[in-house]
């Protein structure tokens, strides 16, 4: 019951198409979530950020650029 009540927060840079919605739904479902709240933030430049509870999956272009910046 507790797992099914989890909601995932999803950030994307542009409005997702059906394929993305489907893939994200499958991804969060595997992690105990049955719904997602989407936010469109162009500042992430691309990719996706998913927050499930305390867990954050960051696949945004901005985070990759930050990784490169730290590496440099």
């Amino acid at each position: 019951m507790a797992k099914n009540s989890l909601s995932a927060r999803v950030i994307v840079s542009e409005k997702p198409d059906d394929d993305i919605l489907r893939m994200v739904a499958a991804f969060i479902k595997e992690r105990g979530c049955d719904r997602a709240e989407y936010t469109i933030d162009p500042d992430i430049l691309g990719g996706i950020i998913i927050r499930i509870g305390d867990k954050v999956y960051d696949g945004s272009v901005r985070s990759r650029l930050e990784t490169v910046r730290r590496f440099l």
Partner: protein, 183 residues
């Protein structure tokens, strides 16, 4: 053989001549006594004191000469002594001079050595500071280049990430996360 007659005649002739000159044997004797008295008086009153004075003067002269000789000897000794003292003073001055020169050279060497050490340390510190500054500048420049490059990349990516690229990025991210968590 003694000719008594001739002698008597000679004496008689002399007596006769003395009579004619008014000279008598008593007068001669008196004159002789006077002469003796005069001689003794002169000897006692004049010759002896003068002789004594001369002797005293001679002794005084000898004493002065001796004093002069002593003084000359003393002067000579003083000269020798002063010459010796002067020589020793010169030698001592030479030793002091040599020591002073030696100490001065040693001091100069120490000062030069210290200055060289300080200069070397200063050069090394300056070189280290320059190297650190160069590395810092290099790092700053590299950082600025990276920042500018990333800023440019952000601008370019913000405009050029297409919908297909974005979809592929999302798909790859989801796949990667799933594989990582599923082992």
């Amino acid at each position: 053989m003694f000719d008594f007659t001739a002698e008597t005649m000679l004496l008689s002739a002399i007596t006769d001549m003395f009579d004619r000159m008014g000279i008598t044997w008593s007068g001669i004797l008196l004159h002789l006594i006077n002469l003796v008295i005069l001689t003794v008086g002169l000897y006692l009153l004049l010759f002896k004191p003068v002789k004594k004075m001369i002797r005293e003067r001679q002794e005084k002269v000898k004493k002065i000469e001796k004093e002069n000789a002593d003084l000359n000897e003393e002067v000579k000794e003083l000269k020798d002594s002063s010459r010796k003292v002067l020589s020793e003073a010169k030698q001592e001055a030479a030793v002091i001079h040599d020591n002073a020169v030696k100490v001065a050279n040693q001091k100069a060497g120490e000062i030069v050595g210290d200055a060289k050490t300080r200069a070397k340390a200063l050069i090394e510190r300056t070189e280290a500071e320059m190297e650190a500054e160069r590395k810092k500048m290099q790092t700053d420049v590299e950082q600025q280049i990276a920042d500018v490059s990333l800023a440019v990349a952000e601008k370019v990516l913000g405009r050029s990430v297409s919908g297909e690229d974005n979809r592929r990025l999302i798909e790859e991210s989801l796949k990667e996360w799933s594989e990582r968590e599923n082992g």
